[in-house]
């Protein structure tokens, strides 16, 4: 593989049984510990977690609050350096890349941040071109085309001149996604993107992600609370519980009733859908089943 930049400075790819074109994201026994100080007991531990994802795959990270979902996502994003093990994207350890190179490969869609000053959707999406520019970053025609395309891909072309704080939550989420697309990443990370969205907008977003993963050859990792959306759209599910990876695999093998009831401590029913994708429902007090 011929690459562009700081490749030579980095250790060579590990000897995985998969070829480089196959595995895009390799999380290998990655663990992390938060503690208040050097001699303090750990506040939170993410135990060694492993999974691999190829291009066009969607991975969902599930679990209760404080189960380590965001920690795992930040390890993948390279914000945190794993205590042991490693996280690689196309063979490079994410935590060792400089921010600029990393932003060209990994885009993160976070829970929305507060906007200090009004900004137009166009200018916001243009921020995604930041890692490719130099100096004052005057818009180049290439950037304009990429931003136009990113807005079109999420169906937000009509929003380009609107101020971000004036549009609805679902529309805003699309614009934030468009900015991530403008980064032209290989790996797209989303932290609870469906929060504050109604069910229609949620399905819309996930269908869009499915489509984008196919079309742009992205690998998508999404942290979510929506079990059914994960079951419907993910190729792989990582189920975390108190910082421990309970099970990793396709939705049908991970989303099983005993496991989910144990993790979420709620009476749940799981049925297999026609396409082999599980459906999770809350078992009501009448205990009826179809």
């Amino acid at each position: 593989m011929t690459s562009n930049s700081p490749v030579s400075a980095l250790p060579s790819r590990s000897a995985t049984p998969f070829g480089p074109a196959e595995v895009r994201l390799n999380v290998e026994q990655a663990s992390f510990v938060y503690s208040a100080g050097e001699n303090h007991a750990p506040v939170f531990t993410l135990e060694a977690t492993s999974f691999q994802a190829r291009q066009r795959e969607i991975v969902a990270i599930l679990g209760r609050n404080a189960s380590g979902k965001s920690t795992l996502l930040r390890l993948i994003a390279g914000n945190l350096t794993p205590l042991s093990g490693r996280v690689q994207v196309d063979g490079f350890e994410t935590s060792r890349l400089d921010n600029r190179t990393r932003a060209q490969r990994i885009a993160m869609v976070q829970q929305e941040s507060t906007l200090l000053f009004p900004i137009r959707a166009w200018d916001f999406v243009m921020q995604g071109r930041h890692p490719y520019g130099r100096g004052l970053r005057f818009e180049r025609s290439e950037d304009t085309a990429i931003v136009q395309n990113a807005l079109a891909q999420v169906g937000a072309t009509h929003l380009r001149d609107r101020l971000l704080h004036e549009i609805s939550g679902g529309e805003k989420q699309r614009v934030i996604l468009a900015r991530a697309l403008a980064q032209q990443p290989r790996l797209l990370l989303l932290d609870e993107p469906t929060l504050h969205l109604d069910i229609g907008a949620q399905v819309d977003l996930l269908q869009g992600l499915r489509h984008l993963a196919e079309q742009n050859c992205y690998t998508v990792v999404v942290v979510t609370h929506e079990l059914n959306l994960a079951a419907e759209f993910a190729d792989q599910v990582v189920l975390l519980h108190h910082g421990k990876p309970l099970r990793v695999g396709p939705p049908a093998t991970v989303l099983q009733r005993e496991l989910l009831e144990y993790v979420f401590e709620a009476p749940l029913d799981v049925q297999m859908g026609p396409a082999g994708r599980p459906r999770i429902t809350v078992r009501g007090s009448d205990n009826s089943s179809p």
């Binding site: 600029r100 921020q127 004052l136």
Partner: protein, 346 residues
């Protein structure tokens, strides 16, 4: 929305430079001694043509030896404080940040006074000794912003209200020290209380400092400007900026250091002039938008214009007595600060 181009940027700067020129000419004319605009124009043209020997001696003294240096000092102080204010606003994610409100100006003033007191005891060459004042001001300012930054954090995040309180309290604490030093140490070289606490431009810049101040200003403001695109993203928060490829640590260190240099330089030559770094960037945001690639140069010009106007008012409204420049800027700035604070709260 048209995208920003170099051409548009230069046009905006040219417009503001034109306004600044007009303001300077008017400021040269106004004052305790009346100077006719015709005579002023004729003299300016003669200076421009290099025929300064033909100037009338009376005009030459008042206009070119007294008013012009003072006005140019105001141009520099206004530009430096405004660029520093705009920079702090991005890094601290706080539209109310300003070197004076954050206590950085008071820290610089204390640093400068300590340097003035210590300098005569060090047996240095006079030219080196003179540079200790801006150096002390820079160190005092940098130390203050570091302390205020950490005091203004809650749970690892900068908290707007806590930060402002930390700044105001630090300013008050440091001002008390300034008063203590000036009152107890009868050092002839230390200027008066009004200078350090409110700021004024009546003391001309010593010749030994002109180069240092000029080069320091352009180097620091230029270095900040190279990060203008990064500052646009830092407003969204450090984590988000990092995800978009900003080398957050490098940008923060560079911009904090350069904003402290700008504040230190301004304070060492004019004392602690307040609210310029708050008022001017806000006016520029309203006029030209929030893009730092435009905001930094426009703030520099706007700050220069604002301080020259404020100083002209300071030396004319109660002429022949003068007000401290900082009194004029505070009369305009403090109510504006309250207005912004109220608007944010609602």
């Amino acid at each position: 929305m048209r995208p920003l181009t170099l051409e548009r940027l230069l046009w905006v700067c040219a417009l503001l430079a034109g306004i600044l020129f007009v303001v300077i000419v008017v400021a040269l004319k106004l004052g305790a001694v009346p100077v006719s605009i015709y005579g002023l124009g004729r003299d300016l043209i003669r200076v421009a043509l290099g025929q300064s020997s033909q100037l009338s001696s009376e005009h030459r003294l008042i206009v070119f030896d007294i008013r012009l240096p003072r006005i140019l000092l105001g141009v520099f102080v206004g530009a430096a404080l405004s660029v520093a204010g705009a920079s702090f606003q991005s890094l601290l994610r706080n539209p109310l940040a300003d070197p004076y409100v954050l206590g950085v100006s008071s820290g610089s003033a204390l640093g400068a006074i300590v340097a003035l007191i210590v300098a005569p005891h060090l047996n240095l060459e006079p030219s080196v000794s003179a540079m200790l004042t801006p150096l002390g001001a820079f160190l005092g300012g940098a130390a203050t912003i570091t302390v205020v930054y950490f005091l203004g954090r809650r749970d690892g995040q900068i908290d707007t209200a806590t930060l402002l309180l930390a700044g105001v309290i630090s300013a008050s604490f440091l001002s008390a020290f300034i008063m203590f030093l000036i009152t107890t140490l009868p050092s002839r070289d230390v200027r008066g209380m009004a200078f350090w606490l409110m700021g004024e431009l009546s003391t001309p810049l010593p010749a030994s400092l002109r180069w240092l101040v000029g080069i320091g200003f352009f180097a620091a403001a230029g270095a900040i400007y190279t990060t203008a695109a990064d500052l646009n993203l830092m407003i969204a928060g450090e984590r988000e900026a990092m995800h978009l490829g900003v080398e957050v640590t490098r940008v923060k260190l560079l911009v904090y250091a350069c904003a402290s240099i700008l504040t230190g330089l301004a304070v060492s030559v004019s004392g602690a002039v307040g609210y310029v770094g708050l008022l001017v960037p806000h006016a520029m945001r309203l006029l030209f938008g929030n893009d730092y690639r435009v905001l930094i140069p426009t703030s520099a010009f706007g700050g220069a214009i604002a301080v020259v106007i404020a100083d002209t008012l300071a030396r004319t409204i109660v002429a022949p007595t003068e007000l401290p420049l900082g009194a004029v800027t505070a009369m305009a700035g403090a109510p504006f600060f309250i207005y912004l604070l109220r608007r944010r709260a609602s």
